[in-house]
Amino acid sequence: MALHWKTTLSLSTLSLVTLTVAAAAGDLNLPRQKVELVAPPYVHAHQQATSEGPKIMEFRLVAEEKQIVIDEEGTKLRAMTFNGSIPAPLMVVHEGDYVEVTLVNLASNTMPHNVDFHSATGASGGGDLTLVAPGEQVRLRWKATRTGVFVYHCIPGGPMVPWHIAAGMSGAVMVLPRDGLKDGAGKPLTYDRVYYLGEQDFYVPRDQKGKFKSYPTHVEAFADTMDLMHKLIPTHVVFNGAVGALTGKNAMPAKVGENVLIIHSQADRDSRPHLVGGHGDYVWETGKFANPPQTDLETWFIRGGSAGAALYKFLQPGIVAYVNHNMIEAFELGATAHFRIEGPWNDDLMSQVRAPGPVQKSNLD
């Protein structure tokens, strides 16, 4: 069964229009910068506004198939990742930069992989030019012509597309304006911290007793998983690859008074994020910085297949939950992350005027 499946895929690979146009080395007379990617929710060091000119930014993405645990019951999933994490790491460049990505498909993997950058132009975002078999690597260069946050994901072809994405193969890119972020009036906006929250929907089949099934290989998970995906109802909706992954010891720290940029991507499915007890001071809901941000938002919308960015200055200490505000998804399916905010309480913004006690006859008591 596995052999037949692989043969079918090779044929569909051949039927893709595979362009192999190798760019001549040195045709871009630009400085190069190698970037070491960092595991989400953290982001690699970068400048916001920059006085430097465009560069060739070098990145390495490694396709890795692995088994992961996605919830507190220990449910195992045959996942597919870039660089071992779900979501894949955030890549940050500036408008006008050239992004040179080396995509490696580990020899230990069982399937071809590629990558489609929503920020790139042509060849299915690079998907047509990056399909590699296990044991191969390829290098793609695309020009960052539009500012904003954008999804990238694996797009191997046919039913493989939704399956690889549902198995975790997506991340995001941020293309900053060279003079940094601005509000609607052109006033500069800066952030003290940035976090990247990739939201992922999983579809894990259950056995007759209702328990989540695990599979010895990816191929054996395929049929059941696709049947369940067709119903369009996920069993898990999580940040950072597992229920509770950004809570407890992994809650994201910040301080009262700090501006925090929160980048949120969802490769497949709509989400509506909300800071519990907080707001979006400046929100690029569609994620594109050429558009002025909306201000003072309660809850915003991340369209499936896109990324958005929100800037918030935390004003109160405590645990501030960041939820997909379908509370069924937030509480029952796992779509909750925690910010851990230290600093002084602001009594003017909120105060418990009278502590709980027995019901009185009038408000004057």
């Binding site: 209702g210 309480w345 502590a355 709980p356």
Partner: protein, 271 residues
């Protein structure tokens, strides 16, 4: 019949009667319920901090840890009720079926306070003894050295809401760190000094105690008590207050905080 022949027949008759009686009992029930293993704890003084929320002069307060006395001997189950034991109640149609298909020799989990109470009622009927959930005080006594004191330092309790929430959050996450995800076979967490097994493991235990909010005046006298018995106290690595119909508290009651991993119970036998 002569007196002599009656005398000879009597043992046989008695034996026949005994056999008939035994057969009759087997016909009307399954194998008799074996009594759970109970530990008897003598009356004693022990340190106890009242549960519930306490407000003093309108601000959160830490109730003192006081020496309290258990006046009567406490008869408490050595181990938590197992999945196999609970299943007998389900088979007798006296308990709601547990959603969990658990291994028989693990503590029963995904049971609510209502489920635990129904089990206690069924066990009492079948054994003709009075079983019930322990009160929080009884549980604290039986837990002994395994009891985790819940109070935050006064500096945290009296601090602003942000600092208080952070202190509580950190404390609960520290407690839950390293806990196994699935219920473990009975005995995995060992015995405390009283011989009770699996106290404060990864299964929290229902008590009969209701949620209480006590208001003290500035002098420390009780001004009011609001009791909500729709919410019951759950004991384990930390105290939790859970609505009585909840079987799985993992989703928590709020966006933050660490809920119990699993909900189970053990019973006391009232004298």
């Amino acid at each position: 019949m002569s007196a002599q022949s009656l005398k000879r027949l009597l043992p046989a008759l008695l034996l026949l009667l005994a056999v008939c009686a035994a057969t009759g009992r087997l016909w009307s029930a399954q194998a008799p319920i074996s009594l759970p293993d109970l530990v008897e704890l003598p009356p004693a003084d022990f340190l106890y901090r009242a549960a519930g929320e306490v407000l003093r002069d309108g601000r959160p307060a830490v109730p003192p840890r006081l020496i309290t006395r258990l006046e009567r001997p406490l008869l408490i189950m050595r181990q938590q009720v197992t999945a196999a034991e609970y299943q007998r109640c389900v088979m007798a149609a006296a308990c709601a079926g547990s959603e969990d298909a658990a291994a028989p020799d693990t503590p029963v989990v995904k049971v609510s306070w209502r489920d635990a109470t129904a089990y206690a009622a069924w066990l009492s009927r079948t054994t003709k003894m009075a079983f019930r959930l322990p009160t929080d005080r009884e549980w604290a006594y039986a837990a002994g050295s395994r009891l985790v004191d819940d109070a935050l330092p006064e500096s945290a309790e009296l601090a602003d809401p942000g600092r208080r929430l952070l202190a509580r959050y950190d404390q609960e996450w520290d407690r839950a760190a390293g806990l196994a995800k699935a219920p473990q076979p009975t005995g995995t967490y060992g015995a405390n000094e009283h011989g009770l097994i699996d106290v404060a493991g990864n299964v929290w235990e229902w008590t009969d105690s209701c949620f209480v909010r006590t208001r003290l005046d500035r002098a420390g006298n009780v001004a009011s008590d609001v009791v909500n018995c729709g919410v019951r106290l759950v004991e384990g690595r930390h105290r939790a207050y859970v609505p009585d119909f909840i079987r799985d508290a993992r989703a928590g009651g709020c966006s933050a905080g660490t809920p119990p991993s699993h909900l189970g119970f053990r019973l006391v036998r009232a004298s």
